[in-house]
Each structure stands twice: as C-alpha cells, then as structure tokens.
Symmetry: C2
Subunit: 258 residues, 2 copies
C-alpha cells in the first residue's frame, strides 16, 4: 500500500496524474475504433491489469470519459462506446483563437477600443469587486478566415488587464499570453441567449441594427474562485452553436427564464 502511494508521485511525474494519462489513452483507443462503434470496453478489472494500475484509478479515468459523453456506465454490464467525439479542451472554450485553430480556420481580431477606469456597479458585480475599483475594458471584432463573426466585450480586473494592455495591439490572442504569464483559468460559467444588435454591434458586424444575434456571456475564474474575466460575446446567426452533454449523475446545465 505504501508503495502504491508512491505511485501517486512517481506515476504523475511524466505528464500529470496517472488516471488522466489513462483517460487520454482510452480516448484515443476509442477514436481509433479499437472497440468498434457501439462496442464494449474491457471490464474495469481487465483494464486495471492491462495498465498496471488499481481499479480505483481505472474508474477515475472512465469517469472523465463518461462526463464527456463518450461511454455509458451502468451496473451489470460493460461500458458501451457512445461516440468518438474529439473532446474540446476547457481552454478551447475560453480562447477564440484556440477554437479557431482547432477548426482549421484562421482566427483574426481587431481591437476596436481598450480602456480602463472605475467599475460601475454592474461591472463590479460581474468581477466580484467593489464599485469604483479600477478595471480594464476591451472591445474586439473577431474574424474567422477574414470574415467577421463575433463582437467581444470583455472586462478584466486590474492585475489581469495590466497584462492585456501591455500586449501588441494587433495580438490575435489575449488569453494565451495570460496563460503564459501564469494566469490559471480553472472554471467558467457560460450563459447563452438571443439579443438584438445595437448600433455599435451592427456597425462592426455589418448587419442591420435590431437584427438578431446569439449572445454568450461568460465568467471565468481562477482555482480560488476569483473572477479573471467577464465577457459578452455576440455572434452573427448561423456561425456558431453550443452543445452540452449532461446526465443524471452530473448536471452542469440549467435552463432559465428570460
């Protein structure tokens, strides 16, 4: 047992936790069709022996795949492969640039306006600060292969905004430099709804004022739960959709009025 504990460190040295590497291996095996479409996975016991780990570690790995909707999980029968969908990393959801690259398209961005000043009550609440605290605001037009598809209004607390303000004005990605600076994004909450373009939206996106847009509001926090950014992104119709997988066991989705 003691030796086992050591594996926690020894196994983790190479590339993160053992169960994460195992999850990646299994995901790749599934994607390669090793178990067939709709096929069955080996039992937990078999996987444990094959990979030289305990059943507990196998279960941790499988829990990841289940949360991603890749496999079923029920008592009595082996897990069944549901899909081979490539998993989108958490970071790809935060970074427009990373997302675009994963799509094989060329991300672009033009900074329309960048400023700093005291937070109004609404902004303060989004970032969990006291009204009047200094914040940074960025307004950018985002393009995919040169075509405008989204307008992004983001606010950052002082310490984050300082990094953003120091970037090349033509920098395509703002999120990546932050990560390089050691800023760790841990959680995010996304709310999707429908709004109508105001004059500024319309001018920048090249649509008519009052025309419908898909809005995604997002709040990202660090591991301590401290807000790192708050953003209001508006997409032209037909350019994007959002998909969520959920189950009785893990429900991260909710439907709200208005």
């Amino acid at each position: 047992m003691a030796g086992a504990g050591a594996a926690g460190g020894a196994g983790g040295r190479a590339a993160g936790a053992r169960y994460r590497r195992l999850a990646t291996e299994l995901r790749e095996a599934i994607a390669s069709g090793a178990y067939g479409a709709g096929g069955r996975l080996p039992s937990e016991e078999e996987l444990a022996q094959q990979h030289g780990v305990s059943r507990g570690t196998v279960r941790q790995a499988l829990a990841v795949l289940r949360a991603n909707g890749l496999v079923t999980s029920r008592r009595g029968t082996r897990r069944v492969v549901l899909g081979t969908a490539r998993t989108q990393s958490f970071f790809e959801l935060l970074s427009f640039t990373r997302w675009a690259r994963a799509l094989g398209e060329v991300p672009g961005g033009r900074t329309i306006d960048i400023s700093s000043g005291p937070a109004n009550p609404l902004e303060a609440e989004q970032l969990g600060l006291e009204p009047g605290t200094q914040i940074h605001r960025v307004l950018r037009l985002r393009t995919l292969s040169r075509v405008p598809i989204m307008i992004e209004r983001t606010i950052y607390p002082e310490h984050i905004g300082a990094v953003i303000a120091g970037l090349d004005p033509d920098a395509i990605s703002h999120t990546e430099p932050l990560a390089d600076q050691g800023v760790v994004f841990a959680d995010a909450e996304h709310t999707v709804d429908l709004v109508y373009a105001d004059d500024e939206d319309a001018r920048l996106l090249g649509c008519d004022p009052g025309s419908p847009l898909m809005r995604e509001r997002r709040r990202a926090t660090d591991p301590a739960g401290t807000p790192l950014e708050w953003s209001d992104d508006r997409y032209l119709p037909g350019t994007v959709s959002f998909t969520v997988h959920n189950s009785a066991a893990s429900t991260a989705l909710s439907r709200r009025r208005g």
Copy 2:
C-alpha cells in the same frame, strides 16, 4: 473493512447512496448560509468524522457540488463556497412541465399534431434506427401561465411513442408518464443555436415568419445509450436562456460552427 463494505448497502437503504445524501445535506447547509458567502468548508477529514463516513465518501459528495459549480477545489486550501444556486435536476431539463413548476409558473401544452409512420433518413439517424422503422411524431405548443413561449417537435421510437399515443390528448406532461412507466432517462445532449421562424412556427407562436427564435435540439438516451427521444424546441426571444458551468476537470460543453 468488511463492515465498511456493508455500509455500501446499509447506508444506501434509506434514500440512495450515502454520498448523494451527504451531497444534499451539504448543499442545503451551503444554501442556508451555514458557511457564509465565500466562506470555507470544513476539511474533508472533519466532514468525514462529523458524518461518520470515510474520507472517500466525503470526496464523492464534494465532487458532485464541484461539478455543479457550488464550491472550489484546490490543493492546499479548504474548499470555498462559490454560490448557493439551487441545483436543477437532470429531469427538470428534460421536462418542460417540471421546469415550469420549479419556476412557480403554470405549465400548459396543446397538442397540435400527433402521428406515426416510417422514419425518414434524418429522423432515423437522430434516433439511431434504420430508415423506415416506425416512429411517432408529436407537435406541441407550450405555454407558461397561458402565454405561448415554445414550439416543440419531438420524435420517439415505437415503444416509447406507444405510451405517448395512449395519453390523454390534453395531458400537460409527456415525460412524467414515461418515467412512471419505468422509462429511465440517463443522458442527454443539448445543442443551442438561433433559427428563423418558418410559417408554421410563426402561426403557432404568434410571431412573424422569419423572426428569430432560440432553438434547442435535444437527444435523450436511456442507461444503455439507446435514444428515447429527439426534440427540436423553438423559444420566442427573451423567454429563456441556458447556462452551463464547466471546469478544466470536467468539460461537457463545446462550441461548434454553424
């Protein structure tokens, strides 16, 4: 240790797994402000002793709260309360009726059309069946406190549709009778985007043809991964929004083109 195993059954007798009950207790404690807003939870060891369970069980319970975005989770420090948001059950996401009741509003529904016939290729794919297989189709207008807000087009495989077809035409809920019949919903995939009302949408919702609607397409499956229903729901603007919480550890959300 053997006695411990017995707790798996003994503890579970009352109302499901021990860790689920513990998760519920903790959620209520948080909601009641027992730990304060932004306060810290007791350590895992303390919780284990207080509730007479092992640390592993405490961790399972906390994992549930974390997935719901209620608490943080990081090495070195105690968990911090992020919010007290009432958790929406998985079932509330599937059932318009349950959702409406939870909001304190009066759900209503008028069945516009119900029919059965062979699945076309598209429908067959949604339900994972062979084209030509018999399916059931239901078109319903949904209201909240008498006001129309959504138009719902759902298809069911034969064995499910048979139950639906046998219901009172004025039945408000279709999902609940299914649950009563022993149909178990285990997983769902929701895709949200923006579409324009066709003539039928417009006539039923009382909006203009071509006006924007928020669309949620949903596929629900049983524990074995077999599709139970596929639905295309279209909401009037301003009546609904969807919120997702995700983290680096569990990413069930994805953004897609078009």
